[in-house]
Amino acid sequence: MELVLQNVEKSFGEKKVLANLSFQFEKGKIYGLLGRNGAGKTTLFNCLGGEIQVDSGKMKLVNGSKSRDLEMDDVGYVYSLPLLPEFLTGYEFVRFFIDVNVDVIEGRGNNIDALFDMMHIAQDDRHKLIKHYSHGMKNKVQMLLFLLIKPAVILLDEPLTSFDVIVASEMKHLLRDLKKDHILIFSTHILQLATDLCDELIILNHGSLTQISPEILTQPDFEEQVIELLRNESQNGSTKESAYDGND
């Protein structure tokens, strides 16, 4: 399965945020999306998630010879600040989620406790109000929902930034487990995390996406090279090709 973006454009007033953006994302890979502040990462995520409409272009899910438009339900969005109804317990929220999405979940929600076990959420914590959950636990609950609905594309907006090392490690394992069935696009500013977790790195600048060559990820001066690329990209949007050239 592939997510294919063709000539996607999005402007806010005079400002063109996504300009003729084309890219192909494959299932089984985690894509690290890099870009400077204001480059348009959140706009791209919001377009993919159906939160905002693109001005033009196509976003398709291609599965072998079959192809269809990307729909809202195909995308799961993990926010950096997970928002969950705090007056519910984690257990109540998951049960509510299963109840109202029963058609999509197809029996995967029959054993709620098994799902909590998978996310390493202790028995007592499941029945605490979400209000009293830590950031990490809220994020785990958010991720648990994707185990249930299995969206084709999962967008992660800086999800590991404020986790302690244990939770971050658990989340990384979980993401690696998830990638075999999904297309994961991971937005981050932390290069170390991106190289550690992602299979591909892409840079968003001047409204278009540029893939960084896989070889660059293994080089010792990887960070310097990526910083240089980001700097060059923001100085000149037309240097897209140099990202490839620089790695060859």
Binding site: P85, L88, E92, L129
Partner: protein, 542 residues
Amino acid sequence: MTGMISTISRIWQLQMITLVNRLIYFTQKLPFVGHLISEQTYAAFQTKRTIGAIAVILLFLAGLLESLLYFGGMLALPMLLWTKNLNSTEHFTLFLHMYFCISGVMAGITSAKVLESTKMKYTSVRLMRIIPTKFVRAALFYRYTTFFFYQGIAITLVSVLFKFSMTHALLIVGMMTFWRVICEFLHLALFKWRGIVLVQKIWATSLSMLLALTLAYLPFTILNFPLFGSVILDQPWLMTLVSLSGVICGYVLLKHTDFTSAVRAVTKHADPLLNPEIRIADLQQRLVESKEQDLRRPSSSNLHVNEQCTLEKKGYEKLHEIFVTRHTALLRAPFQRRLLAIMIIGILLPLLVLIFKDYLSLDSIERFSPLIIMVMLNLTVGSQICKALFYHVDKPLMRYPFYRQHAKQHFWLRFRSILSINLKLGSCLAAVVSVSILVLTGGQDIRLLLPIWVISIALAVFFSVHHLLLYYVIQPYTTELETNSPLFSLINSLISLGFVVAMFLGPPLWGLTAVIMVLTVAYLSSAVLLVTKYSVNHFRVK
């Protein structure tokens, strides 16, 4: 002096730039013309300078207008309206008394530049790093120069109107200017002595306002009330003493006073006077916050048991039930407040009817029956419940597409809840009005009772749909619970407009009832279509 003038000029520039930037920002938001104003407009220095110069002139005129309004509206107008056969000396005496009470006593306590908390002071000192002492010295100099100038012009006009000595009047304004400088000094002395910022003590300012205004206007109601204000202001020796003290205080303030601690005390970021947005957001959030006792209902240790208890309900129904159970106090409060208001109406209305029985008739009640629209608008619950729903339930869930797609399901659940509360309130109001009608007619004429009940019930349904439908279709709340939608305000103002039209036309009660019923049915039927059509895109966090 040069330093002071340059600080004043810097404050002006800052004020102008802020004003012009704000003007550009809001013009950009206007429909049709907004797109003509590009981002580059902020860089048009020459234009901004010209607009700034115009704004400075307008600010001067506004200051003058303020003084003219004060002298005209609060001092001259009462004398014109409420006094007869007074000569110019008597007018002057009365004028001085009022001027003493309002400008000397009230404003002396409630206003002090040195300790006032303004956004400009905050921006200048905290953000633009103007030295606090320099800022306050410049502000004081500017304030009391313009004070004399503006009030001098205003009192000259009043003296022409009432034919009293212009020179004498100007001397009084000069003395008042010096007195207010002394007040600044005293405010600062109190702050330095006890750390008290008197202008921020609501009890002190309210009490002084109440007393000063009462004393100022009492001579209009009580004959021979001693006009002590004029006696004080018209003493030559006191005038000399105040002027000399004012000069000394002014000199000390402008030359030998460090204002750093005073300015720091009133320019804290969290100060609600400086950041009303924060205060409003805090207040809104406090209004919809869950009560701990509700969240422990049943106790948090028993949450697991509670989860099992509600097993028979599923999905949105269960979500709603848990929300109601864990926010009982929050949801009950608006109902109880309104019930209390109806009870008070229930006591007062029949009493008033009894007292004014001879002047009232069923026809006059029928003529003013459109009032029930405004009463029900304010007595029905809706907006506060919608805010609570937004804050606790919808804000996190609106991000999920499925939640927006299923909007119709939770809309009806919530509609039923709100409707049941509003029907109770509508019935209580109808009962209260019915009692008053029965008191008026001695139980003899009951023809208005049925339409009163029908219209109350219809309005209860109407406003239940109204609040919830607007919430689902427009979703006007920001994450800070501010209402940020012109369309929302416009539609709400249509209700008030409808009321004004109804009051103007004065239709028979049955006619009004029929119109409300038709509108309610139409509103209710359109709700289904509107929620289905617009919620997917509009029921989201702005």
